[in-house]
């Protein structure tokens, strides 16, 4: 077990299925260190390509093996990477992953997988706020939470703990780092002081009479 384990926590309660994460991932990784993610016949009848299609990485806790040592799990942050200069493209590692997280790149002829945008998250030339995976940055509903799941105080850990986060295919005991948050009942809690403007000086000083229940109210003059 690595000290630090970076991972994604995907909140199915707020995901709207817009695919912005997929597009952003493809855009960044096509040009970043993992690129190019080649497309074959992109404008023809049967397009295909590499695009980390489910934008999910697993970074399994129990990392099994590779043939060449080209695929490895980093000690410092638990990210599993492929060394594209060593991979022989035998595809055996993809067989050994129950989630289908690995994709063979038909152009580079090597195995590729999500890098958790390792070329973004440590890039000190970027503003601190941008040092997150491209999919996380793109999400319009903050459905993707990025963080260290071995740190109990991280947003990711807290989200898993407080919202019933779970791993996919737990029956294999692969202990994937990525987690999903289930659909939850959303309750709207409205408190009294949210309906009444407690700090309205007009009301406090008695200059504004309480409007009738059916009278129109305006935000700036609300009682």
């Amino acid at each position: 077990m690595t000290r630090k384990q970076l991972a994604l926590v995907i909140d199915l309660n707020v995901c709207v299925g817009c695919h912005a994460c997929v597009t952003s991932c493809k855009e960044w990784n096509n040009y970043g260190a993992a690129g190019p993610l080649a497309d074959l016949a992109p404008y023809d009848a049967d397009p295909t390509g590499t695009f980390f299609n489910r934008v999910q990485t697993y970074e399994v806790g129990q990392y099994p093996f590779t043939e060449t040592g080209a695929s490895y799990k980093r000690e410092q942050d638990g990210i599993v990477l492929v060394d594209y200069d060593k991979c022989i493209g035998c595809k055996y590692c993809a067989w050994a992953c129950p989630y289908g997280a690995r994709e063979f790149d038909e152009h580079d002829k090597v195995m590729k997988k999500c890098t958790l945008c390792v070329d973004r998250i440590y890039d000190t030339r970027m503003a601190e706020v941008d040092r997150k995976p491209a999919c996380v940055k793109a999400c319009p509903t903050s459905a993707r939470i990025f963080g260290d799941i071995h740190d109990p105080h991280s947003d990711a850990s807290r989200a898993i703990r407080e919202n019933g986060g779970y791993a996919l295919m737990p029956e294999w005991g692969t202990q994937p780092a990525n987690h999903y948050l289930p659909r939850r009942t959303t309750r709207l809690r409205i408190h009294e002081d949210e309906l009444v403007r407690a700090d309205n000086p007009l009301r406090v000083e008695g200059h504004l009479p309480k409007p009738a229940d059916d009278a129109a109210t305006f935000d700036d003059a609300s009682w």
Partner: protein, 326 residues
């Protein structure tokens, strides 16, 4: 899983090569122990050795077509501590080398005894090399089988029957080939070799049918529910998120009609097991090379179908995510 021609050829060709070498050395061992009438079989060993080398080399060449980066193939030997594929990559060339040495030793007539066992058995260079080769042949069968058997997510392969079947199927095809070769070179050995070929084919059939029986009763451990973590009894995928193909929609699906999959099973049972046994029996009776060659050809064709089926039948859990295009 997608049956890749390169891997089908690799596993069938080297299996036959290993089996043929084992057949050669079995003949030599029986002759050494006096269990077979002594025949001038020098030419048989050399030709058999050359044929085994050719089969192994052809399998090795075929395997390169499976690699995206064949020029880096040497790297695959690096992880032998953990990877069965790595071990296979080491054992295959080592075994090939020993088969070449065995053939050379017979070709150059290195049959002067090096030492004599207490029972008075003269041990020459070919016997020593043959023993090493036998160990490596079995090690290679185990490695090839374990490449598939060690993948616990592929339940159809994750059984001790997998390496057992690789051994028996390779042995059967190799002995069948040896019987046909003997019919052409030393007809005196046809009875012995075809007998073993029939026994091994029957054993292989038993192993393979046992595996079919086992696999027909497998219940996939992963379900749509566990794959996405939603505990509803009725889940149907409406979309996999994209409409084109990807590596995930090709590599893990056999891409054939269900009918072809259903036909493949009886086809290989007939072609790899039933027909070769009958042809070998006929060839044994008539001491005819034609029948035995036919048995060989039919069996190899059957084994190609068997290997196709082996891959096509395996259901990878990741396929749960790719059930439907919107």
């Amino acid at each position: 899983m997608r049956p890749a021609l390169s891997v089908i050829l690799l596993t069938t060709l080297i299996g036959a090569g290993q089996g043929l070498f084992l057949a050669l050395f079995t003949v030599q061992s029986y002759a050494l122990l006096g269990l077979l009438p002594s025949v001038a079989a020098g030419g048989f060993y050399v030709r058999g050795g050359l044929l085994a080398t050719a089969l192994l080399a052809a399998g090795l060449v075929a395997s390169f077509f499976h690699l995206g980066r064949p020029e880096r193939a040497w790297r695959s030997a690096a992880q032998w501590r953990t990877s069965w594929l790595s071990r296979e990559v080491i054992v295959l060339p080592a075994f090939m080398g020993v088969v070449v040495l065995y053939t050379l030793a017979h070709g150059l007539g290195a049959t002067q005894p090096i030492f004599t066992l207490p029972q008075g058995l003269p041990i020459d260079a070919t016997i020593v090399i043959g023993c090493v080769g036998t160990l490596l042949a079995f090690a290679l069968f185990v490695c090839t089988g374990m490449v598939y058997a060690c993948l616990r997510f592929l339940a159809e392969w994750h059984t001790p029957l997998t390496p057992l079947n690789y051994t028996l199927l390779g042995g059967a095809s190799g002995f069948m080939l040896a019987a046909a070769l003997a019919a052409l070179v030393v007809p005196a050995l046809v009875g012995f070799l075809s007998g073993w070929a029939i026994i091994l084919t029957v054993l292989a059939a038993a192993g393979r049918v046992a595996t079919l029986w086992r696999n027909a009763r497998l219940k996939p451990r992963s379900t749509l529910q566990s794959a996405i973590g939603i505990k509803h009894p009725f889940i149907a995928q409406q979309s996999k998120g994209f409409m084109g193909g990807s590596f995930n929609t090709r590599e893990f699906f056999h891409g054939s009609s269900g009918q072809r999959l259903r036909l493949a099973k009886p086809a290989f049972i007939v072609l790899a097991f039933a027909a070769p046994v009958l042809l070998a029996l006929a060839g044994r009776g008539a001491a005819s090379a034609t029948w035995l060659l036919a048995a060989c050809m039919v069996q190899f064709g059957g084994l190609l179908i068997e290997r196709w089926f082996f891959f096509a039948q395996a259901r990878h859990p990741q396929n749960l995510y790719y059930q439907a295009v919107s």
